[in-house]
Each structure stands twice: as structure tokens, then as C-alpha cells.
């Protein structure tokens, strides 16, 4: 029985008068990849941020790794958050640090005692450096250690941010619009990295996107370690669940086949049959 990684039960998120999420319920299980689609302002980013307590739910229940997070103080969430890798929309690399320090940041600031607020007593610098190099090699940016984020292209920034997100090998990864604003070739590269991470480290993931092509890749391809390319895989579809948000409400949840056969006009707009 797969373990529950993230569970939303009737979650509503309200900002003043605006309801960003309305009565949303779903469960993300170990090994699954969820593709969250929706128009701009439909609550996709809020959903991701609420999942790790960056935004607070006004009502409902959220469980991360089977631990309820609402009502917990910020400090009490730090240990849980360290088990989640997050890719923010524009990468959110720290401007003042070079790529090496950005990727190494989660490794160097890891806590060793739950809830104690203490940093790891001893950081093995050689192991840390090796892991930074490994994470950057994974996203094919191994030569950019000393570059500053401002010196990277949009796609490279996104890849460096993926390296930071996976540096600690977290079991759960959240990607917020990983391909937004990128050209088709770079967008494919980013999605290929997300699939590679899923298949190499067996991670559970949630990918927020407005591009159906992104979900289509995740649901139909796997990473082939022999040639480093994506190859068709029929098994991937069963572990890829699509979710569609409309004005904060979850209006669809299901596998790709069900999504493509949906008669809902809003859902149909997101599904392109090339």
C-alpha cells in the first residue's frame, strides 16, 4: 500500500475577500506524479504553497507525510519542509550567491535534531561538495559552479534551481510552472529532467503547469539511462494523475485517458490533441 505523501481535505484558502482555493480535496501517494493544470489565477501556485505551509489554509485539513501542518508554528514546519524539494516559478535562486552556494545551501543548513533549530553539528565539506557537483551534473550544469544567477540564461536558472531542489534527495518534489516563459526546446529539456528525477530517484512529484504537453510527456515517457533520452512508456500513465483547477475549485481529477475524454468545456480547453 503506497504511503500518503500529501493529503488535502476540504481545504479553503482565503486572502481577505478573495477565495484562492475552494474546498479542495485530494491525496498524493508515494510514487505518483500529479499534474495540476488551470488558467492563470486559478489557484495552482497557492495550492503548492499551501501544501508546505507557505500559505495558510483558512479551513480544512492538510497532511504532509501524514503529519497535519495547519496550525503549526513556522519553526515546527522547517523539518518537514526539508523533506520537500520545491522549484519556484522563476527558479528563485539567491541573487547574492553563486550557483555552487545556491545548490549547496539546503545541504549546509540542514538540521540534525528534529525541531531543535540546530544546524547539523558537523558538515562533511568533501561530501557536500561532491553532492553539489553531482546535483549540477544531473542537470548538465557541472561547469557553472562559480557563476552568479544573473550570468545564467532563463533555462539554466531553472535547471540550477532543480539542482537545488533535488540536492538533499527529498522524497517529494513540487514544481511550480517549470516551463513557463521558456522556448519549446528548453521546456522539453526541463521536463526531461523532471522525468529523469522521477525515474532515477523514484520521487513523488506535483507539477503545476498550464501546458498540456508537459503532462503528456510525464504520462507517456520514461528516462532511459542507457542513452540519456526519453522513451515511450505505457506504465507511466497509471502513475500520472491530472488535476484541473478552475477559479480555486478542483473540477477534474484522473488519469490522462479520462482527461482526454472529458466533456467539460473548461477541461477540454487544456487538452490539445495534436
Amino acid at each position: 500500500m503506497p504511503e500518503s505523501m500529501l493529503r488535502f481535505e476540504n481545504v479553503t484558502v482565503r486572502f481577505d475577500q478573495l477565495e484562492a482555493l475552494k474546498d479542495v480535496s485530494f491525496e498524493l501517494k508515494e510514487g505518483e506524479t500529479r499534474i495540476v493544470m488551470g488558467a492563470a489565477g486559478s489557484g495552482k501556485t497557492v495550492l503548492l504553497k499551501t501544501a508546505i505551509g507557505l500559505d495558510c489554509a483558512s479551513s480544512g485539513k492538510i497532511s504532509l507525510f501524514d503529519q497535519e501542518i495547519q496550525g503549526k508554528a513556522e519553526r515546527d514546519l522547517f523539518d518537514l519542509r526539508q523533506r520537500v524539494g520545491v522549484l519556484f516559478q522563476e527558479g528563485a535562486l539567491f541573487d547574492s550567491m553563486n550557483v555552487e552556494r545556491n545548490v549547496g545551501y539546503p545541504l549546509l543548513t540542514r538540521r540534525d535534531v528534529k525541531g531543535s533549530g540546530k544546524k547539523a553539528a558537523k558538515v562533511d565539506m568533501a561530501a557536500t561538495h561532491a553532492r553539489i557537483q553531482e546535483a549540477l551534473d544531473f542537470v548538465e550544469l557541472g561547469q557553472t559552479l562559480k557563476l552568479m544567477p544573473a550570468e545564467l540564461s532563463g533555462g539554466m536558472r531553472r535547471r540550477a534551481a532543480i539542482a537545488r531542489a533535488v540536492a538533499t534527495k527529498p522524497p517529494l518534489l513540487l514544481y511550480d510552472s517549470p516551463t513557463a516563459g521558456l522556448d519549446p526546446i528548453t521546456a522539453y529539456t526541463i521536463m526531461a529532467l523532471i522525468i529523469k528525477e522521477r525515474d532515477v530517484d523514484n520521487t513523488t512529484a506535483m507539477v503545476v503547469t498550464y501546458r498540456y504537453q508537459d503532462g503528456n510527456l510525464v504520462a507517456n515517457f520514461r528516462y532511459n539511462p542507457e542513452d540519456g533520452q526519453l522513451v515511450p512508456d505505457e506504465k507511466a500513465a497509471a502513475k500520472t494523475i491530472f488535476m484541473v483547477l478552475k477559479e480555486g475549485r478542483l473540477i477534474f481529477e484522473g488519469v490522462q485517458e479520462k482527461l482526454e475524454s472529458s466533456t467539460d468545456e473548461y477541461v477540454k480547453k487544456f487538452v490539445k490533441r495534436d
Binding site: E74, F78, R81, V86, F94, T109
Partner: protein
């Protein structure tokens, strides 16, 4: 009517919470010593020129004005006394703090504001790091250490400026100027002159960080936060100096 006060009351509550957390973090691990040192360099060493410039010219202007006014009563030789008292008690702390607010409150607001709108603050929280501990507390500690130091330097340079004017314009001898300057100061003046910048430092750093962390609305919001931080910190400096001066005047 109640809605009109809702915003300011909410703002005051948020600011108080931020200040409480930033101060509480002084006794809480982890401590980001490298960030404190970097901020001390940025705020202290980086603002040295501006503090020296402010102190020197305020000393010159003060000596020019006071020398002429005292000359009417035949007391020109007491110029150093007046310059030192006004500089140490009031103008040194206030002018230095205003310059540092202009340079650093706005700098903190724009830096943290940019981090906020580009989701770097959220990224920090997602990595399990408290942004207040990592960003606000080091800036607060660094300002609390460096602002009194800068004020002492500005005070001394101001006295040097006063001496330049006294020697060149009013032909006072060095011994005459520096003796009255030194003897005019009492311990309460020194305490007041150091306590003020220490208290102002919290307004300078916390106001800058508060506006930075509450930035909304993209790059336009960063510009707005920067201006608001500088204006609010400057206003707080005037309010605080009035309160502290009243306390010292009443007690001496």
C-alpha cells in the same frame, strides 16, 4: 470609520511581531555570524564616508553660526563648548541616523523587497530557514553595533570641523577650543549620545526590513517599499529623539 484604522493597527501589530521575533532570535540558534559581519561591513564601513561628511560639515556650520552669535556677547571662545554639546547630544546622533536611514533602511527594503517579489523569501522558508533569523536579525544586530560607532566618528569629525572654522574664522587657539570642547561634556551627554543611536538603529533596521518583507506588486512595489522605509524610519528618528531628550532633560 473602523476600517480606516484597520490598516495602521494591523501594520503596527505586524511590525511589533517582526521586532519581537528579530530580538528573540538573538538568543536562539542558529546564529548567522557571517551575515552579521557582512552587514556590519555594508552598514558600518560602507557608510563611513557619508557619516564623516555629515559630521564635518555640520560641525563647520554649527561653529560658523554659534561663533557669530556668541561673538555678540563677547563669548566667541566658548564656540567649542556649544559645538560639542549640540553635536554629542543631538545633531550627531540624529543627522547620522538620518543619513544611515537614507542609505540603509531603503537599501534593506529594496534588497528584501526584491527577494520577496522573486520568491527568494519563500524559497528560503521552503528550505527550512527562518527568513527573520537569516535576514532581519543580522541586519538589526549589525546596525545596533555600527550606528553608535558611526555617531562617535561623526561627533569627533564634527568637532574637528568646528575647530577648523574656529581657528580660521574666529582665530581661536587649538588649546582654547579643545579644552572648552572637552570640559563641556558630562557623562550624561555621552550616555545620551550613545543611547540615541543605539535606539535609532532598531528603527533604521527593523523599518527597512519590515517594508522589504511586506513588499507586494512586483518592481513597482519594491520602489514604493524603499521610499516608505526611508520616510518612516526618518520620522521615527525624530519622534524617538524627542522622547529620549525629554527623558534626559527631566532627569538632569
Amino acid at each position: 470609520m473602523l476600517d480606516y484604522f484597520k490598516g495602521p493597527v494591523q501594520g503596527l501589530q505586524d511590525f511589533t511581531t517582526l521586532a519581537g521575533q528579530a530580538i528573540g532570535n538573538i538568543w536562539r540558534r542558529p546564529h548567522y555570524w557571517d551575515d552579521i559581519l557582512i552587514q556590519m561591513d555594508t552598514i558600518g564601513v560602507g557608510s563611513l564616508t557619508i557619516a564623516v561628511f555629515t559630521g564635518f560639515f555640520s560641525g563647520i556650520v554649527m561653529a560658523l553660526q554659534m561663533g557669530r552669535a556668541l561673538g555678540q556677547y563677547g563669548q566667541t571662545e566658548r564656540t567649542g563648548e556649544v559645538v560639542s554639546i549640540i553635536l554629542v547630544r543631538e545633531l550627531g546622533p540624529v543627522l547620522t541616523a538620518l543619513m544611515i536611514a537614507g542609505r540603509n533602511s531603503s537599501g534593506m527594503a529594496s534588497e528584501l523587497g526584491s527577494m520577496k517579489v522573486t520568491e527568494q523569501i519563500d524559497a528560503m522558508r521552503a528550505l527550512g530557514i527562518d527568513p527573520i533569523q537569516k535576514l532581519v536579525t543580522p541586519r538589526m544586530i549589525a546596525t545596533a553595533i555600527m550606528l553608535p560607532c558611526l555617531t562617535v566618528i561623526a561627533d569627533f569629525i564634527g568637532m574637528v570641523g568646528g575647530y577648523v572654522v574656529s581657528a580660521l574664522v574666529y582665530h581661536l587657539r587649538a588649546h582654547q577650543y579643545w579644552t572648552t570642547t572637552w570640559q563641556a561634556l558630562e557623562w550624561s551627554d555621552v550616555v545620551q549620545g550613545l543611547l540615541k543611536p543605539f535606539i535609532f538603529s532598531f528603527a533604521v533596521s527593523l523599518v527597512g526590513c519590515y517594508y522589504g518583507l511586506n513588499t507586494t506588486g512586483g518592481t513597482q512595489g519594491v520602489g514604493k517599499a524603499t521610499t516608505q522605509a526611508m520616510v518612516t524610519a526618518s520620522m521615527w528618528i525624530f519622534v524617538l529623539t524627542a522622547i529620549i531628550t525629554k527623558i534626559f532633560v527631566s532627569s538632569t
